[in-house]
């Protein structure tokens, strides 16, 4: 942390570019996280309270419950993919904010 004294953190934090970066991150992370949690928690709620509906067979012996559980894996992977894609753009924005500092 040798650059502690040479960096004006308040000034950086107040930069419009930095504020824009934070707003962009928030605009992605908050809805993505909320969606992920709701989608995930729907699984125990449906399995716990609507077991008969979840036992409906969709393909041979494979039922809605199993398909929904597998879809959670797909959901997590797709979300990770989307996150990495937008986060790569944030890296550039972050580099621009701290350009010439530290």
């Amino acid at each position: 942390m040798s650059e502690k004294s040479s960096v004006n953190w308040e000034q950086l934090e107040a930069k419009p570019e930095f504020r824009a970066l934070l707003a962009k991150k928030k605009a992605f992370i908050v809805p993505a996280f909320v969606f992920g949690m709701l989608y995930y928690l729907a699984l125990p709620v449906l399995v716990g309270y609507f077991p008969e509906m979840m036992k409906t067979k969709v393909w041979g012996e494979v039922n809605v419950a199993y398909v929904f559980a597998l879809s959670q894996f797909i959901m997590a992977w797709v979300m990770a993919f989307l996150y990495v894609r937008v986060a790569t753009q944030w890296d550039k924005a972050a580099a621009a904010v701290i350009h010439g500092q530290g």
Binding site: M1, E3, K4, V7, W9, E10, L12, E13, A14, F18, L21, L22, K25, I29, A32, F33, G36, M37, Y40, L41, L43, P44, V45, V47, G48, Y49, P51, M54, K55, G60, E61, V62, N63, A65, Y66, A69, L70, Q72, F73, M75, A76, W77, M79, A80, Y83, V84, A87, D91, A94, A95, V97, I98, Q101, G102
Partner: protein
């Protein structure tokens, strides 16, 4: 095969010991681990013996409901990826408490964070050691006590001499072995069913345990948490379990320290993605072992002394499908898994004690003689290891490992996660809030588990849920929030929020990799 693994890992430890030249090297592997390597190490830390052996067994018995654990274990990484990994890497040094101590008063915060790290790691470790002793006894016929002592001593060698670098490489090798074993086992299960998913799922829906039991439909939910089996609280217990898994992972200290071993936040991010790919694939395969075993292995094969030993489902499945050589391989993988996870836990516990408690609480964060922090970490590793060995032997092979693991996840979700999140995202958050959140989250988790059906009262428990997350997580957040708003604002902490925000989101001034 055991000996080959042990020999290889000792070589790595020897190599790592020569490279350990300073605190950053010892505690964070010199921040030199690459994205895919750390992804494998995170996955390795996470896919413990409890997951590999325990979940295969749970699906064998409870079918679909056992699979719920597998789903939660992967989805939990959304929390890690989106909320925790990058800010943690950017603003910390060696431990979770570094992030908290950034703008709060370091001594109380570090003392409590260190305590909660020790509690989580020790309980998790005792669970692993007890499991290890029992499994090794079955697999290679060594008695429980010598098996536990053997595991403990080996693990101490890795941690004390090799530090984070050796621990990480042991983890990587073990993750690779585990994936190879899991893929082979899945292949053999599918081969048994003529590579036809229709046939496989048909057999699962009419699983009769190799013809030894009444057929039951393992594809249908409700065999463990359904109202008919678990009573009216069953579904809430399931939801509570899911909450604990999905929020607890992001508070497990031995997972969090992994993000300090990489050079920057971008690598931390890519390592989470690698980990998610491996963990997801692995946990989907658990349905092949668990479901598959129910269609192949009869219950008598798994019963010793009148008790169904569900932990042996995966090894026995390997024996039935692949013969003695494959059984030996899967057993060696299980053994490697236990060793590696126990080493990872000891590493994070000792790092936290030495860095947070010894250096920063007792010595006020002043620079000591160089190497002192590492020496303390080694001594702590030794004590934590010895204590876990003693506890595991004292509790004996019959202790309920699920209880201990549940406790670890619950403390992580209820004590650690709230303060991590609030410290990064809430400007007003202050020291009293962090202390209240950590202390109340820790106490609430321990109390609720003691009062639950897996605690001291057994079936007559006053608290009906085995998984306290749905109650204890809100309590943790509430305590942190109340602790903050009921005490005066802390201008110093709020002033440093700007610095923390810039650091967390840009990586400016973060700890750099050290050259070797």
């Amino acid at each position: 095969m055991f000996l080959a693994f042990v020999g290889l890992t000792l070589l790595i430890t020897f190599w790592a010991a020569k490279k350990n030249t300073g605190a950053s090297a010892y505690f964070a592997a010199g921040r030199s681990i690459t994205g895919w390597q750390n992804g494998l190490a995170v996955a390795g830390d996470y896919m413990s013996a409890a997951s590999f052996l325990g979940i295969s067994g749970m699906i064998y018995v409870a079918g679909y409901d056992g699979f719920m654990y597998s789903v939660g274990f992967l989805v939990a990484y959304i929390t890690v990826l989106l909320i925790v990994a990058e800010p943690l890497r950017n603003a910390g040094k060696y431990t979770m408490a570094d992030l908290l101590a950034y703008r709060l008063k370091p001594r109380p915060v570090r003392a409590l964070a260190s305590l909660s790290t020790l509690v989580v790691s020790t309980f998790y470790m005792i669970a692993q050691m007890v499991g290890a002793g029992a499994i090794i006894k079955q697999l290679i016929g060594i008695d429980f006590e010598p098996a536990v002592i053997g595991v403990g001593v080996l693990m101490l060698v890795y941690v004390v001499f090799g530090g984070m670098l050796a621990t990480t490489w042991v983890q990587i090798i073990k993750a690779l072995l585990l994936m190879v074993g899991a893929l082979l086992l899945s292949y053999l299960v599918l081969q048994f069913h003529d590579f036809s998913f229709t046939k496989f799922f048909d057999a699962v829906a009419h699983a009769d345990y190799g013809g030894s039991a009444e057929p039951k439909n393992l594809m249908e939910p409700g065999l463990k948490f359904g109202v008919a089996v678990a009573g009216p609280w069953g579904p809430i217990d399931l939801i509570s379990l899911c909450l604990g898994l999905v929020l607890g992972t992001a508070g497990l200290p031995h997972i969090l320290v992994r993000f300090y071993t990489v050079p920057d936040a971008k690598t931390a991010r890519s390592s989470v993605v690698w980990a998610m790919a491996i963990i997801g694939l692995f946990y989907i395969m658990t349905t092949l072992f668990g479901f598959g075993a129910a269609t192949i292995i009869d219950k008598a094969t798994l019963t010793t002394a009148g008790k169904l030993d569900v932990n042996m489902v995966a090894p026995v499945l390997a024996q039935v499908l692949g013969g003695e050589l494959f059984f030996a391989f899967i057993s060696a993988v299980a053994f490697a898994t236990i060793l590696a996870v126990v080493a990872g836990l000891t590493m994070s516990a000792s790092a936290s004690f030495a860095h947070d408690f010894y250096s920063n609480v007792i010595h006020h964060g002043k620079e000591n003689r160089p190497g002192q922090e590492i020496r303390v970490a080694r001594i702590t590793a030794f004590c934590v290891g010895a204590a876990s060995i003693a506890f595991a032997i004292y509790l004996g092979p019959t202790v309920n490992a699920a209880f201990l693991v549940g406790l670890a996840f619950s403390v992580a979700a209820s004590a650690n996660l709230p303060v991590i999140v609030l410290s990064v995202f809430w400007k007003r958050f202050n020291t009293s809030g962090a202390v209240a959140g950590l202390a109340v989250g820790l106490v609430a988790s321990i109390l609720l588990i003691l009062l639950s059906p897996s605690g001291i009262y057994g079936k007559d428990a006053p608290f009906p849920l085995s998984n306290p997350g749905i109650v204890s997580i809100p309590i943790g957040f509430l305590a942190a929030w109340l602790g903050t708003i009921l005490t005066p604002r802390d201008p110093e902490a709020e002033a440093k929020y700007a610095e923390l925000t810039v650091r967390a989101h840009t990586g400016l001034g973060s700890e750099k990799a050290t050259a070797h």
